[in-house]
């Protein structure tokens, strides 16, 4: 892609709008701050490269989540992640308030213990995507998505009741 002001402007708007969801996705896939930053930039890079071919066939949101999850899933196989030396309750969890921070931490731990497939479905569901949209992002049939999410939600019930 050529680096024209128009391209860059479009790209900046897109990334500003979706930086927070992408950051949350990175937090679920990578343990250390350095790995999260690497993954965050890898996703930005893949979006930048794919942007010229985006024709609006899919919504921007599902298009971007496809790229983000593809980068996150394949980068796990590509790089051996660095060991995390961070405290379990990180700044962003603490910033959300003590109660919310603890619940968020419990949720993060539950997500971290999932298989990559379940984790992908869970993250999309938590970001508010419907089963149909999750099918568009993952390629897994929406009926299968619904069944698996029902099982995942049962598994996440203890997190829901954590004070």
């Amino acid at each position: 892609m050529t680096d024209t002001p128009d391209d860059r402007g479009h790209f900046s708007e897109l990334m500003e709008a979706y930086a927070s969801p992408i950051r949350r996705l990175c937090a679920a896939y990578a343990e250390s701050t350095a790995d999260r930053e690497d993954l965050f930039q890898d996703i930005f890079l893949a979006v930048w490269r794919a942007l010229p071919d985006f024709r609006g066939d899919a919504s921007v949101r599902t298009w971007l989540y496809r790229i983000a999850h593809n980068v996150a899933l394949t980068s796990r196989a590509r790089h051996r992640r660095r060991q995390s030396r961070e405290s379990p309750l990180e700044d962003e969890d603490a910033a959300a308030g003590p109660e919310m921070g603890l619940r968020r931490l419990a949720l993060k731990r539950a997500i971290a213990a999932m298989t990559p497939g379940d984790r992908t479905l869970t993250l999309l569901w938590l970001e508010g995507l419907s089963a149909i949209e999750i099918e568009e992002v993952t390629g897994v049939k929406s009926a299968t998505v619904a069944v698996r999410l029902s099982r995942i939600r049962k598994h996440l019930q203890p997190v829901e009741v954590t004070p």
Binding site: M15, R24, Q41, R66, N70, R76, P116, G117, T120, G139
Partner: protein, 194 residues
């Protein structure tokens, strides 16, 4: 979305706010990385073209005008081997690019990446065979040296050729093992996702 889903979503979305400054600095870094990666790939492709444009005609000339039939055959083999090696490197680069994550759905992406990795593995597996004309050609030059020049020069050339062939074989075997590990991870991810 049910209440518990809304509640969990709220918990999930309560963290990881990103400030505009960080997004802007990430964009700068990404654009710089993209430029560097494109320059590196362009450099490799230009290098491959230079091999084809400079080395290949020289070898073909030597194949046509060599001092003996043995030397001519050796250069012809080396020319053929070099052309195949350049083509293989070109294909490898192309498959690497096509394996990069894009906007396909996750299942299709994992299938495509695994398929590209499988192609690269086959290419690596057969490397000692498709690169053999180069090594055989050099060894034939060694044979010509042995017959018509000094024996010691021939032994040195054969030793270098043999070491190069073994090193190439070991190098590709190691790269193949890494690619195969990645391919298996992709297939496992795909089966977990489906």
């Amino acid at each position: 979305m049910s209440n518990d889903a809304s509640s969990l979503s709220a918990v999930w979305m309560s963290g990881q706010r990103v400030d505009k400054e960080h997004v802007m600095s990430s964009i700068d870094t990404v654009l710089e990385r993209d430029r560097a990666a494109r320059q590196r790939e362009r450099g490799i492709r230009v290098g491959l073209l230079l091999v084809l444009v400079c080395l290949l005609p020289t070898m073909l000339w030597a194949a046509a005008h060599g001092v003996t039939p043995l030397v001519r055959a050796a250069y012809a083999l080396m020319a053929a081997g070099s052309a195949v090696a350049v083509f293989a490197e070109w294909m490898f680069l192309d498959w690497s690019r096509r394996a990069l994550p894009g906007p396909a759905d996750a299942c299709s992406q994992l299938q495509r990446t695994a398929s590209m990795l499988a192609r690269q593995i086959v290419l690596m597996k057969t490397a000692p065979i498709w690169s053999s004309p180069i090594f055989v050609g050099v060894a034939m030059i060694g044979l010509w040296l042995y017959r018509d020049r000094a024996h010691s020069e021939a032994f040195v050339l054969w030793a270098i050729t043999g070491a190069g062939w073994v090193a190439a074989g070991l190098g590709t075997a190691s790269a193949r093992a890494k690619l195969n590990k990645r391919r298996l991870q992709m297939e496992q991810l795909l089966s977990e996702l489906q």
